[in-house]
Symmetry: C2
Subunit: 199 residues, 2 copies
C-alpha cells in the first residue's frame, strides 16, 4: 500500500491536482447518484483520469468515498475558541450553514440521510464523525469549565439538537438557508424558551 502511494506521489507536482480532481469528482458523483450506485468508472470519467489511477490508490469504493468526504473538512477541523460558548457555537453552526448553502452540500447530506442504513456508508460516516466529534466536545467541555453550561447537559444532545434543528428546517420545512438566523437557534439552546429573570 505504501509502495502504491509513493508511486503516485513520484509524479511530483502532478500528484496533488489529480487527487483533488478525483475527490471533487467523487463528491459530485455521490451527490448525483448516491453511495450504492456510485461507480469508479464514472468518477474516473468525470475527473478525466484513467480508472486504474483510482484503483491503484483506492482499491475499493469505501476507501475512496471516506477520503473524499474527509478532505472537505480538513481545513475546518480546528475548534473555535472565541472565549464564549455562544461565540463558538455560532462559528461551528456558521461553517455548517456555509456547507449547506452549496447544492453539492445539500445533496450529500440528503444522500447520507437516505442511504444511512447501508452498512459501508454507515461505517464511513461513523469513522468521520468520530474523527470530528472532538471539536464539539472540546467546545462544550471548555464551556462547562467556565460555568456556562449545566453539568447535567449531555454534549451529544446539545450538538445533535443544534445540527438537527438546522437540518430539519432546511431539509424538511425547506426554509431557505439565507433566511436561517443562527443566533435564534443558538440562543434557544442556550437560554431556552421559558422566560428567565436574567439572560
Amino acid at each position: 500500500m505504501s509502495a502504491r502511494i509513493s508511486n503516485l506521489s513520484n509524479r511530483g507536482h502532478r500528484g496533488e491536482p489529480v487527487i483533488k480532481d478525483v475527490f471533487d469528482a467523487t463528491r459530485e458523483e455521490l451527490a448525483r447518484v448516491g453511495f450504492r450506485a456510485l461507480r469508479i468508472e464514472d468518477v474516473a470519467a468525470r475527473a478525466n483520469v484513467n480508472k486504474t489511477t483510482i484503483y491503484r490508490r483506492w482499491p475499493n469504493k469505501s476507501d475512496l468515498v471516506q477520503d473524499a468526504l474527509r478532505s472537505m473538512f480538513e481545513d475546518k477541523s480546528f475548534a473555535p475558541n472565541t472565549g464564549s460558548l455562544r461565540g463558538d457555537l455560532l462559528m461551528v453552526a456558521g461553517a455548517m450553514l456555509d456547507f449547506l448553502r452549496s447544492a453539492n452540500g445539500q445533496a450529500l447530506v440528503r444522500m447520507m440521510m437516505a442511504e444511512g442504513t447501508e452498512d459501508d456508508l454507515r461505517r464511513i460516516v461513523d469513522t468521520l464523525r468520530s474523527e470530528k466529534e472532538g471539536v464539539g466536545e472540546l467546545i462544550i467541555e471548555r464551556a462547562k469549565a467556565r460555568g456556562e453550561v449545566r453539568g447535567d447537559v449531555k454534549t451529544e444532545l446539545l450538538l445533535s439538537t443544534l445540527v438537527g434543528g438546522l437540518h430539519h428546517r432546511i431539509f424538511a420545512i425547506c426554509v431557505a438557508t439565507n433566511e436561517i438566523d443562527l443566533e435564534e437557534h443558538v440562543d434557544l439552546l442556550l437560554y431556552g424558551a421559558v422566560p428567565r429573570a436574567t439572560k
Copy 2:
C-alpha cells in the same frame, strides 16, 4: 369523483377493509422503494386487490400516497392539553417516537428525507404538514398565553428544533429509540443549557 366514491361505498361493509388494505400496502411499498419508484401495480398486488379498484378511486399516484399518509395520523390530530407546555410537548414527542419505533415509520421518514426534492412528494408533505401544524401552533399559543414561553420565540423554530433533534439522534447518530430520553430533549428546549437561578 363523488360518483366514484359512492360507487366504492356501495360495496357496503366491504369498502372499509379494502381501503385500509390499500393504504397499508401503499405505505409498505413507499417504505420499500420510495415515492419515485412506487407502482400502483405493486400496491394492488400487495393489497390483494385489482389495480382498477385503486385507479377508480385514486386516478394518480400522488392522490393515493397523500391519502395513505394522512390516514396514519387521523386519530392523532387532536392537540394535547395537559395544562403545561412541558406536558403537551412530551405527549407530542412521545407520539412521534412511537411512530419512529416502527421499522415502517423509520423507512417512511428516510424516504421523505431522501426524495424531498421530488416536486410531487414535496407538495404532498407540504399539504399534510399544513393540515397538522395547527396542533403545534395551538400548544405553543396556549403556552404563550399562560406566560410559559417568551413572546419572541418562534413557534416554528421551537417545534423544528424538537423534531429535528430527535430525528438527528435517531437517523444520523443512530441512537436506539429506547435510549431516547424525551424529558432531556424537552427540558433542553424549555430551560436551555445555561445555568439559571430558578428552574
